[in-house]
Symmetry: C2
Subunit: 330 residues, 2 copies
Amino acid sequence: MLEHGGRLRAASLRFGIPLADWLDLSTGIAPYGWSLPDIPPAAWTRLPEQDDGLESAACDYYGVDSLLPVAGSQAAIQALPRLRRNARVGLFAPAYAEHAAAWSREGHHLLTIGEVDIERELERLDVLLLVNPNNPTGRRFAPEQLLAWHARLAARGGWLLVDEAFIDCTPQHSLAAYSERPGLIVLRSFGKFFGLAGIRLGFVLAQQGLLERLAELLGPWTVSGPARAVATALLQDQAGQRVQRQRLLVDGERLGELLREHGLPPSGGCALFHWIACERAAGLHDFLAGHGILTRLFDNPTSLRFGLPADEPGWQRLELALQVFTKESA
Amino acid sequence: MLEHGGRLRAASLRFGIPLADWLDLSTGIAPYGWSLPDIPPAAWTRLPEQDDGLESAACDYYGVDSLLPVAGSQAAIQALPRLRRNARVGLFAPAYAEHAAAWSREGHHLLTIGEVDIERELERLDVLLLVNPNNPTGRRFAPEQLLAWHARLAARGGWLLVDEAFIDCTPQHSLAAYSERPGLIVLRSFGKFFGLAGIRLGFVLAQQGLLERLAELLGPWTVSGPARAVATALLQDQAGQRVQRQRLLVDGERLGELLREHGLPPSGGCALFHWIACERAAGLHDFLAGHGILTRLFDNPTSLRFGLPADEPGWQRLELALQVFTKESA
C-alpha cells in the first residue's frame, strides 16, 4: 500500500501526541461541509438500487447525460487500467501516486513525463493521464490544451484520462461537458469538495460503452445505500454548493497568503491545498508534527502539502507554529 | 449485469404496484436488525483508517486472527479470480451466479458440478467453490467433508473457496476457525445477518499473504467510514447477536412450516430463506407479485426463493396470498 495523507493514528503514535490534539492538514479534503440530511432506514437495510435518484442528481451537478458512481474515484483508478492491454501510458508527474501504481500493476508501460515533454511524447502514447488541478503541485491545465491533446490521442484510439478530484471550486476548468467524446475519461471525487471523505463516492464521466465495461468489472452494489442517500441530497443543494465553493476559495487564498508571510511562498496550489517545494520541507514537516500539526511530506521533489484548517483556532494554531518555525530557523 | 433479488423498483414498474405497497421477500437478507449506533461525524468527514477497531471487532466475532474487510463480499467475489491464472474451477451449482460470472470474466475454465461429482472431479480441479449453506438451495456441507476436500486441494496448491454469506445463524458449520490454512478462503457477509444490506461490508478470511495480495488489488479505503463505525459496534454486541440469531431461526422454521401447510414443501433452505423447486414456481411468482409480494424466481431448475417477512402483518399477508393461490390452483 502506498503512503497517503490522513493517517492521523500513525502520526499520533510516532510523535506521541494524542489523537484528539492534532490539527490535521495532511489531506486536500474540505475540512467543513454540510449538516447531513436524514438517511432513510431503507438506505441501510436494503440493497442499493440504481434508480434511486443519485445518478440523475449527479448528472445535473456535473452537467452530463451519463456517468458511473463508484466507491471513491480510487475504485476507478484501480479498475481503468484493466480496460486496456499493453498501453504506453504517459503520466504527468509528480502526481497522485495511485495512478502509476494501478497502471503498473496491470502490466502497462509507464512514462513519467514533465510538462514540456507532453507535446513531444504525445504521438508515442496510448494514454495520457493527468490530474487537473494537479495533486500535489496545484498545476492547472487549460481545457483547450487538454482537448487538443485528447483529439490527437482519440484519433489513434487513445485515451486522455483526467482526474479532476480537486476541480469543484473551479468548474470552468473541467472537461465534464466533453466527457462523451470517445477516448475522454474524467474522474470526479465526491468527498473532497463536499467534505465527506469517509463516504467513499466518486464518479466516472465517459462514453456510455466504456462506463458499461467498467461497471461490469466493478460488479453490483459498489456504493453504499447511506452514501447514495446523502450524496443525492447534497448534489441537489445548489445554494449550499455556492457557499462551500466561496468559503473554500477564500480560505485557499488565506492559506497561500499565510505561507508567503512566513517566508514559505507556495510553489502551487488550489482552493483545497497549497504546496511548497523546498529543501526545508522535511524539517518543517517534523517541526509542525512536533506541534501536533500534520502536513503531508513528499519526496522527489522534497515538498510539503498543506490542507485547510477547519476553523479560527486551527488557523491561529498554524500561524503561531509558523511564527516559531520562522524565528527558530532565522 | 446479472439478475438479483431486491429489485423492487423494477417489479413496481412491471406489476403496476406502488413501491410502498410491496412485501419484499426476494432476498435472503434479515428483514429486521439493530437500531443503529451513533456514527461519529469523523466517520463521514475523514478518510477511513485501518486501525479504528473494525478489524479487531471482526476478528473476535469470526474467531480468527486476521481478515480483510471488503465493500461487500461481492467485492471479493469480483477480485479473487484475479489471484490465479488459468485455473480449473469447479462450482457447485446451482448457486449464487456472481461467482461463475467472476471466474469466467478472468478467463478461467469453469466446471459446473453437482454434489455427487465433487469426489470424482476433485483431482482435476485447482479451485473448488461452493456456498455453504448454499444459495438458493439451502444445501449444507459438513465442515469435516469440506476440510477433507480442502486438504486434497491444498496438497496440490489448490483452493477451497467457501462463501458463507448465510451461515451466521449456524456458526457451528463455519470453516472460519480453519481459515489460516493455506488454500482455504472463507467469505463472510456482514449485511445479511445484521439486516444491513445497504452498508456494503463483508470479510475475507484467509492466510495473511493472500489477504495482502487481495488488499493490493482492491486498493485503499474500500469500506466507508460510516459502515466501519456501525459494524464495529454491532460486531461487539453479543447479546444483540443472540437475539437476532434466535429470532431468525424461529422465523426460518415458521416460513418452512407455512409453505408446507400450503402444499409447497421447501426443497431446502436455511434461517434466512426457503427454496421451492417445482413446475409451478413461475406461476406462483407471478401470482404473488400480482398481490404485491416479491419473491425471487430462478430458472434451471425452475424454482422460487422466499425470504422472511419482517413483521406480523407481513406474515399474514403472505399466508393469505398462499391460501388464495392454493384455492385457485386446486
